[in-house]
Symmetry: C2
Subunit: 390 residues, 2 copies
DNA sequence: ATGTTTTGTTTACTGTCGGCACAAAGTGAG
DNA sequence: CTCACTTTGTGCCGACAGTAAACAAAACAT
């Protein structure tokens, strides 16, 4: 099931090999998934001609199969979408560009947009996931620090989301109201990149990304998100990366959060951030358009050095086999990949862990796709129970 | 099997409950383990009188069952032991007190001591494990930084240990030569504490300990040691805990490794370390005997603050549900538990993750027991394959 | 002594998966 | 075009694991 979802089982033959079972068993699994309306077997095409033997049938994703309702709230607004098996974005609602300070209003609005998409599509809904720019405590599902959206700390997003979905009449194929699962946006982006993007095949994937303010991290271990014992792991923003740096609200100084985020970049380049566009967008544009300017280049180098120091600290603690960068960090990596890699290699302890590949994220809307992964998980774990008799 | 090993299955009845199977199945499992000579069923005693119903038989560990050969090398010498099921120390060889600079000599000597114990005991050997004070790269099994024992970096301990065992004629019950598994001592101590000590029941266990120099860390996730993608995770010694601190060989300054180890404590207390006993022992004695001395008390407070800063950083990244401290850190915790707990709580981001319990380690020779865990693991995973037909 | 409660064992059944034989669908040689 | 060959897909049978249910055993309560 995971194999089909992550695209590692294009045919029954490779499914057999990947599962390590007999062809009979793999065939039965495929038949069950087809009966549940998740996949569709195409006898026709499989590009690879010239191969000996009977050609495999392609295990395609059912074109009108069930979808997950995915939602995201961030500093610039909110957005809803439908995501099919395999992480395909099936439909997207145009995002709203302002965020009311009342989480209940925002969540009701985004649920309504998602429910409308569901009605239009006529597809079944396997569940719903929401990405928020905040640590989310488990198992309560409360947003601990949703500063970027000006919500009160401890906002019960799981509860609000679930209630909103029930009010909008969203039900799963078995007819129960769906649970509104919520997660941190960077965590969910990491999950999406692991399953469908630059993190595929990694066993110890570390993701680090800026939002509009601050720095977030996530770790995917053996395909599962590592959220710690209470959902609070990978709060990487308060690693010290500049001992002489400015004091941080956390009580320390020179934290990654304030030394390597978009505002730090704009400040280091001597620019005054304007209020009209988001800090992330301003920083991206400055980096893209004025990299030739020595002050911009110097700011980029400075942030790369600080980011590298933070990543090296994480490499020493987590020993990942791959690192993926998002937000402004992705652009910093692309501006000077060699500089970042050499800083990480120099400051991490052992040559081999210093040689960890650092890649930019590759998925559009990876937090949105990751939110859908939360919802899809139940289907992946037990398709029959989640979808029931068709 | 794990349940018996970790003492969570004292009777067939609780084994049934823990496994979530029927009594018939649990009985069959117990019968198999008894046939393999691992456990022994005592019909007689079970302290808990007054209970209704037929009393359970006790599933005891077979008194002459198989053992693992455990070995440890540290700055003060080396030591060999036999460890039975359940982490029982069955026999210990008196440790040698000097360590030759040639790893092959040390390992041959410790293997010989272990083999002698095996001959004396007449028990079967399920495998062999070795604890070394160094990061051990996986899967090669090379010791990357065995500075404390003056070995060359990259010493192939796995290979040397395996070869030594073959030369000593140590074989497993199936008659094959045993593989010499090697691991970092703090990692192995954490594993032992998780299964048999203060870490029992923890799902996200963090251990931090000093050896004689430096600071090591380990993480046990869902019962398995987290060693990262190449065995290099939890190198916690280079977290910054004192921005104004001394420069460290890693290129940064104020690292945990040099700011919170036994030498740092002795220096902070204004004592000149003598060469006769190990730094760890000197620091322990000073802390125990002269805590009333203001300079010792001040040094203790200083180290607790630095350690707390480091632990808080780890809590933010790993979000453990329990922390266990070993080496000098254990004594520092016991000297002033409240101070350490409040520093960690203040400097970790969220109240809940700041409330993580911090406990001293409870096992004697936990690295030795942990080394045996490496060897026992194969039996736990598949008792029949590892022990074969009796 | 008898009933109750919990534990342990035996027996029959069920469901999953591997092994195997066979059919199907292509390529390549003659 | 025919025939061998290779690989994929499917149906059938048997091994095996684990459940369910009935029964036996060993304590306590009355």
């Amino acid at each position: 099931m995971e194999l089909v979802h992550t695209g590692r089982a294009p045919t029954r033959a490779v499914l057999t090999a990947e599962l390590g079972v007999t062809r009979a068993t793999a065939g039965a699994v495929a038949a069950e998934l087809e009966a549940l309306g998740l996949i569709q077997v195409d006898s026709r095409p499989l590009g690879s001609a010239g191969a000996q033997g009977r050609p495999s049938h392609r295990l395609g994703i059912a074109p009108r199969g069930p979808v997950a309702l995915a939602a995201q709230v961030h500093a610039d607004g909110f957005r809803a979408a439908l995501v099919g098996l395999g992480g395909q974005l099936v439909a997207t609602a145009p995002g709203c560009m302002t965020v009311p300070a009342d989480p209940a209003h925002v969540i009701d609005a985004v649920v309504e947009a998602g429910a409308e998409l569901l009605r239009e599509s006529g597809r079944r809904c396997v569940g719903a996931g929401l990405a928020v720019p905040s640590a989310v405590a488990e198992p309560e599902g409360t947003a601990l620090n949703p500063l970027h959206v000006a919500w009160p700390a401890g906002a019960p997003v799981h509860e609000l989301f679930t209630r909103g979905l029930a009010a909008a009449g969203v039900t799963n194929p078995v007819g129960e109201p769906v649970e509104g699962l919520a997660g941190n946006d960077v965590n969910l982006a990491a999950l999406a990149e692991h399953r469908h993007g630059a993190g595929r095949g990694s066993a110890h994937l570390l993701c680090v990304a800026t939002g509009h303010r601050g720095v977030g991290g996530a770790l995917v271990l053996d395909g599962r998100l590592h959220t710690g014992s209470a959902g609070l792991a990978l709060e990487v923003g308060h690693l010290t990366v500049n001992p002489e740096g400015r004091p941080c609200h956390c009580g320390s100084r020179g934290c990654l959060d304030i030394e390597a985020d978009p505002l730090a970049f704009l400040t280091a380049a001597g620019r005054d951030p304007g209020p009209e566009v988001s800090l992330l967008q301003q920083a991206r544009e400055l980096l893209r358009d004025e990299y030739a300017d020595p002050s911009v280049r110097a700011a980029s180098d400075l942030l790369i050095d600080r980011l590298g120091l933070g990543l090296a600290g994480l490499v020493n603690i987590l020993n990942p086999d791959r690192i993926i960068l998002g937000g402004l960090h992705r652009e910093l990596l692309e501006a000077d990949p060699e500089r970042l890699r050499s800083v990480v290699a120099e400051r991490s302890l052992w040559g081999r862990s210093g040689g960890v590949p650092i890649l930019p994220c590759t998925l559009d809307h990876n937090s949105l796709v990751g939110a859908a992964e939360l919802a899809w998980q139940r289907v992946l774990d037990d398709p029959l129970a989640a979808l029931g008799a068709v």
